[in-house]
Subunit: 512 residues, 2 copies
Amino acid sequence: MTKGPINLAISRRSLLTGLAATAAATVAAGSAALPRSAVKTWDMSTDVLVIGSGSAGVCAAIEARQAGAEVMLIESLSQFGGSSAMSGGVVYAGGGTALQKALKVDDSVEEMYRFVALAGDANPPLDKIALYCEESPAHFDWLVAQGIPYSEKLTLAKGLPMGDESLYFSGTEQAWPARELAKPALRGHVPGVDGMNGGRRLMEALLSRAYTLGVSLRASVSADRLVIESDGRIAGVIVTVAGESLAIQAKRGVVLACGGFIHNREMLKLYAPKLYECSVPWGNVDDQGDGINMGIAVGAAALRMHEGFAIAPIYPPENVLSGIVVNASGQRFISEESYHGVLGDAITYHQKGQAWLITDQRSGYNFHQDNFLPVAEGSSIDVIAAQLGFPLGALQQTVNYYNQHAINGDDPMFRKSKTYLRPLQGAPYKAWDLSVADAFFPAHTFGGLHTNLDGQVLSSFGDIIPGLYAAGRNTAGIPTAPYIASGLSVGDCTFFGRRAGRAVAALDGGLS
Amino acid sequence: MTKGPINLAISRRSLLTGLAATAAATVAAGSAALPRSAVKTWDMSTDVLVIGSGSAGVCAAIEARQAGAEVMLIESLSQFGGSSAMSGGVVYAGGGTALQKALKVDDSVEEMYRFVALAGDANPPLDKIALYCEESPAHFDWLVAQGIPYSEKLTLAKGLPMGDESLYFSGTEQAWPARELAKPALRGHVPGVDGMNGGRRLMEALLSRAYTLGVSLRASVSADRLVIESDGRIAGVIVTVAGESLAIQAKRGVVLACGGFIHNREMLKLYAPKLYECSVPWGNVDDQGDGINMGIAVGAAALRMHEGFAIAPIYPPENVLSGIVVNASGQRFISEESYHGVLGDAITYHQKGQAWLITDQRSGYNFHQDNFLPVAEGSSIDVIAAQLGFPLGALQQTVNYYNQHAINGDDPMFRKSKTYLRPLQGAPYKAWDLSVADAFFPAHTFGGLHTNLDGQVLSSFGDIIPGLYAAGRNTAGIPTAPYIASGLSVGDCTFFGRRAGRAVAALDGGLS
């Protein structure tokens, strides 16, 4: 493969991998399940034990508590909120939510379903998607009722609003081919707070609600092993608190909701080697895969373990979308306006981790940024093609073809929107490195436990594992690769977290 | 995506899927493990129970028996041999095998390792690859000693020999970029028999050897559930014989060796949706994933479940390699001489399942074949580009660029060998459909249980599951996607099957 001439001595990835390794070493590893017969006495008991305090776990806890169950929620870190609190706090919602209606945004459940079901590439969980879309307006009402503040403001700008707007295009709806598969609508619902604080605000509201309802919230408690009855039912969990091992009985069930595994480098390399290559593990430090591994240890199936959100955040600013993105053969392979997750997926999974953004005078980054470094610069495309060692004449041909059609407002190959379409002309031309290892290329995981619509964990034969529930990135949920819109992950966490909470609470107790 | 104008009313895939569904319905499904306490008495007992009679299982049985264990091998079908017997019977071997030496083929363990480790794309199991390469000459000697006949003849032609030659280039060694990563050598070792009978001949020899050694071979016995002790050790298997359920004790251990899951359509869709799209499930009808699922049910980790061998067998004849392969954007994306598994992988996983072979008068198929149907034909590239609806001018540009360099003996983009490189010129031009759904596009699965070098099955936490071994396509072994050479799968089956057999036999018995 062609490789840019500028090789940083230490790649961004290797720097960050070093950090992650340090973090991992401080986190206790889980282990296989413990037979119930090995637990002499329970140190504590509750109806429902939720593991993890991100949006999936807290929503499960709220619903289980509201259904009348006694609920304990444990968090391994000293602070609650999980990776959700670090996120933008976007929930992908539509089909006519109260906010869409208030802002006169036309949408339907069918168009939302078409987008989520069709705009990706993998085999998406259609049953989960259908339910998610049908109940999306009601789910948004529920989020509002928990105290999450949304403003009646929208923006048409691409990218997470840094102002207090609460509705925006969070995905690839307007880019080709998605816009031909479903009618685009603004569906990114984000707390109406300035800056990148949506996730924190969302979690503050949910945690406050859980606390008010009487969920027992315990920080700095890590889950080590599930306890399993001889008949296969999950009876409780062995946890560590301040170095001490305790057995907690969960009479109605356990909800695994402790996130993905982007920070477990060994597990990542084994299951999701493409994400391992990405420079920035994106998630809180305890995204170590413990919940997924505890599930696998009791016979759960795990799906889509190689998939994730590989992020190439080239916009904002939107002016760069008038540049072109090319692979190592100097060919375009995607509409540049595609959502970060769609572009990131194409580079990570389908272009061997390498791509370049080629810009002219007007389309370059016009402020200091170090997410994507310029690796070639010159007075002509010939010059940068030679600098980067593209196949002879290939980049020139790509630019000529693109320009020849752009001047007429056409992009026959990838149908870029007219907003961003114009010929590349005017030195300096630059090439910006979009490689997964050297660019700012965050990633997190989507693989997880196989669950039904109620969050019940399923075995390899499709059987329910009694007493075991999961939600969020502990599960293989709605987010698949390519990730087509911000808000599908936190949306999935909150929606299916709630369902898991209702389901686990509805079960009769009855252990010992 | 661009779609050819000729849509067959029923795709090849939908036809074959119908057949597969019928087959699946006749196969009993397995289920979760049974606690040892639920087995009152064992109906039968053996030291080692091997499940599956393909090359992995039979090699395990031979080695376990030679190590002094009492061995029973069960096969769910009425005939022995598994998918290995249906295969070409190629074993990828090198580093200086007796046959390579006899035929004066220069090779080294290091070059073989470089090829297998580097020419693919995924995260390959380097520990397994290193051992496999180091011991490859000795492993080939062992195969000869089992009575498999190899001729002292080689061929330089591409593709499985239909004559009695026993050594050939079975992979992508000579195609770019592989040839720059490792020095190419002939490493496909195939029984010296005419026609596509290598697999049958290989299995006849191995089965005969197992029988002679006193392995108890039982056909028409299907494995339903593992039996697990309260301490997690695998104690035996519940099987079905003529409608009757029997419990078989395996005092030293169980070896799961009953193949992949290409014929379990539901499982395939769940785990490997890209392979589900391929038109021809390739493997024997009992490749239902039962062994993999039984392993998962007792807490085993499963790796690379989405990967497989997606096969685009465009050659022979080699003259077609002077054509070019293009994607839906009319762009080339690979050297056309790449091995079937490399081309198939690129189309299946990275080009959304669509591609076309573009030929001129000399490079078209010059005999009747229906593997790849002509979907456009005309007096110029313009005509076929218009017929197929490629982006305006894109295919023309690709051909112009290719021709312009080919005339000078260059292929700057994909470095096709000079043997196949010449400009496309001379009507009729044709486009042949290489799509996964409508072309002859066989596939089988590579995902399976996580095992160590001795075939011991590992949990999600990396712990050994006592008494449980696996080999062949029940495991995540050396074959990964893209599949870079024929013979790596049967090679992995035979080599690690043997290791599993030695390991399981070496354990002390000790279950009451």
